[in-house]
């Protein structure tokens, strides 16, 4: 195996995912397959090739610095699990 259970658990924690032991085992197998594929790619000689960040070689579009949005706080807060006045309300973050 190319990945340990601890590493999968750590990634789950970083992604805030709760996994059962069965799911962890399944993910270990998935990761293993992905990593062996990456190993295959690693065999390719890429010396002198610029790392690619994007598949399309077009310059970044830019917008002018203008306020174009209409505020719609109600629409935004429609999706909030909890709200208070115009704020999102979340479980206490610091004590």
């Amino acid at each position: 195996m190319r990945i340990s259970r601890e590493e999968v658990q750590r990634m789950a924690l970083l992604a805030r995912l709760e996994l059962t032991a069965t799911e962890e085992t399944e993910l270990i197998e998935h990761f293993d397959k992905m990593l062996s594929y990456i190993e295959k790619l690693n065999q390719l000689d890429t010396d002198g090739v610029e790392p690619t960040a994007h598949a399309v070689a077009v310059p970044s579009p830019l917008r002018e610095d203008q306020v174009t949005n209409q505020a719609d706080t109600e629409a935004l807060l429609q999706n909030a699990p909890a709200r208070e006045a115009d704020f999102f309300k979340v479980p206490k973050i610091i004590e």
């Binding site: 970083l14 805030r16 960040a53 994007h54 399309v56 077009v58 310059p59 970044s60 579009p61 830019l62 917008r63 002018e64 610095d65 203008q66 306020v67 174009t68 949005n69 505020a71 719609d72 706080t73 935004l76 807060l77 999706n79 909890a82 208070e84 006045a85 115009d86 704020f87 999102f88 309300k89 979340v90 479980p91 206490k92 973050i93 610091i94």
Partner: protein
């Protein structure tokens, strides 16, 4: 053992754009909660960020003003972490390829120049704001600030003392204010600073373990917190302890740093290229245009003031730290070119004192000047022409500030013109001498110091309007010749 500190600062500057970095929401401060929001800056699925041109222009201005090398291509990265004020679960920032690197800021401290290197400058989006004190069991989230553009400016660990760090921050703020990309207000959080501090034995070149200190929201806090950290780390090492790499918070009330109780393991941001944003390319012509548009910067202006107006280094420093103060000074000199140094004194002791006492400035701008610069010039002209004394001028200045009237008007209306009429002054002197015959005898017997007593009495009788020079001469003459 004696230790030397190694200090580097990380500064976040909020940019003065109209709209956010990747969407058309307003950046205006003070809107109702969650008013300046849209699907892009609140991280709803299926949206695409589009970069604000002015953010790039501001980054270029800052980079050129700090002598950075600008990357022909830079790349956006996602910095992944979870916090309620970060709706997407990641912050769009730059990581491997920032827009600018390898610059420097020159500071002046105690007459010496020092160059502090800049590692990098990059653009990123701000997070929203959490409010913790409204409830005991809940926090409130306002996403108005999410997506407001920031520049992160990272210095090299080139500073050795808290004073140097403070001066670096002041110089950097002055530059950002001059190029009008940030209002530089630390109290309101538009300029934020984290300090990395480590210590090492004097003479050593190896680096110690660094500790990051956050929550520094004033210049005083920056210097005090660094001072505290140097002492804490030195004492820990001297007691045989070990420095732990950690993040600490400055407690401004108790003037100590405290370890942030972090329940999680070390951060792992898992940066990767943002697939929603294309790499940013900046053409040389754009760089050239921005370079040509840069104003005279604080360091250059300071030198020019010393040369052109013959000002001491201290005056030039005070007058050029803020662009609006420098402009005010030059307007006053333009109105009255004969005495640039006296005008400098009046600005430092008069104008800036009133502004400070009455809190007439916010961020980039002084909101209310005590008087227009032309009137300050006119006031100094009145002194130089002998129409009023320096002492009376202070009264006139206060009156200019309170009534908004021109100095000439105040002097005429209140009859403050100096008494330069010898005859009139002689009458006053005679009265004073006649009222104090014993003192006159004492003076003539050799108590020279009594001259000041007579000067004071005549000044009092004339309500400060006697021309001091003339008064002195006349008094001496009368006291030595008028033997009755």
């Amino acid at each position: 053992m004696e230790y030397e500190a190694v200090i580097g600062l990380e500064v976040h500057a909020q940019l003065l754009t109209e709209s956010k970095i990747f969407c058309g929401c307003s950046t205006k401060f003070g809107a109702a909660p969650n008013h300046n929001t849209c699907p892009v800056c609140t991280g709803l699925p299926g949206v695409l960020p589009v970069l604000n041109r002015r953010v790039v222009e501001f980054a270029l201005r800052a980079a050129l003003a700090t002598h950075c090398h600008i990357a022909a291509a830079s790349r956006w990265a996602r910095k992944n972490y979870f916090y309620p004020d970060l709706p997407k679960g990641y912050q769009i920032s730059m990581y491997e390829l920032p827009i600018a690197q390898h610059g420097y800021v020159t500071l002046k401290l105690n007459g010496h120049s020092k160059r502090v290197g800049l590692t990098r400058i990059h653009m990123e989006e701000d997070a929203g704001k959490n409010i913790h004190d409204a409830h005991s069991d809940a926090s409130l989230v306002d996403l108005n600030r999410a997506g407001v553009p920031l520049l992160e400016i990272v210095s090299e660990p080139d500073m050795r003392t808290p004073e140097e760090a403070g001066e670096y921050l002041r110089s950097l703020r002055a530059i950002l204010q001059y190029i009008e990309v940030c209002d530089g207000n630390m109290e309101e959080g538009s300029l934020r600073c984290d300090a990395n501090v480590s210590v090492r034995p004097q003479g050593s070149t190896a680096l110690g373990t660094k500790v990051e200190t956050k929550n520094l929201n004033s210049f005083r806090a920056v210097e005090k917190a660094i001072q505290y950290e140097i002492q804490r780390q030195s004492e820990t090492l001297n007691a045989g302890g070990r420095i732990v790499q950690e993040t600490r918070l400055w407690d401004a009330d108790r003037e100590v740093t405290r370890s942030m109780r972090s329940k999680e393991q070390a951060h792992d941001y898992r940066y990767f290229s943002d697939p929603d944003l294309l790499p940013l390319t900046v053409a040389q012509e754009w760089i050239d245009t921005v370079q040509a548009s840069l104003p005279e910067l604080p360091a250059e202006r300071r030198e020019r003031f010393m040369q052109k107006y013959n000002l001491p280094s201290y005056d030039a420093e005070v007058l050029t730290t803020r662009k609006d103060v420098a402009e005010y000074y030059e307007a006053a000199v333009h109105a009255y070119p004969s005495d640039p140094k006296i005008l400098s004194n009046w600005i430092m002791d008069g104008v800036l004192r009133v502004i400070k006492d009455e809190k007439l400035d916010t961020g980039l701008k002084i909101t209310k000047w005590p008087c227009p610069p032309e009137q300050l010039g006119a006031l100094v002209r009145l002194i130089d022409e002998g129409k009023i004394s320096g002492k009376i001028a202070k009264t006139v200045f206060d009156e200019m500030h309170h009534s908004g009237k021109a100095p000439e008007t105040i002097v005429t209306e209140q009859g403050l013109t100096q008494v330069r009429d010898e005859g009139a002054l002689a009458v006053q002197i005679d009265q004073v001498l006649a009222a104090n015959p014993e003192k006159v005898v004492e003076y003539r017997a050799g108590r020279d110091k009594l001259l000041q007593f007579f000067v004071g009495q005549v000044m009092k009788a004339t309500q400060g309007k006697a021309n001091p020079q003339m008064l002195n001469e006349l008094l001496r003459k009368k006291l030595s010749t008028d033997h009755q």
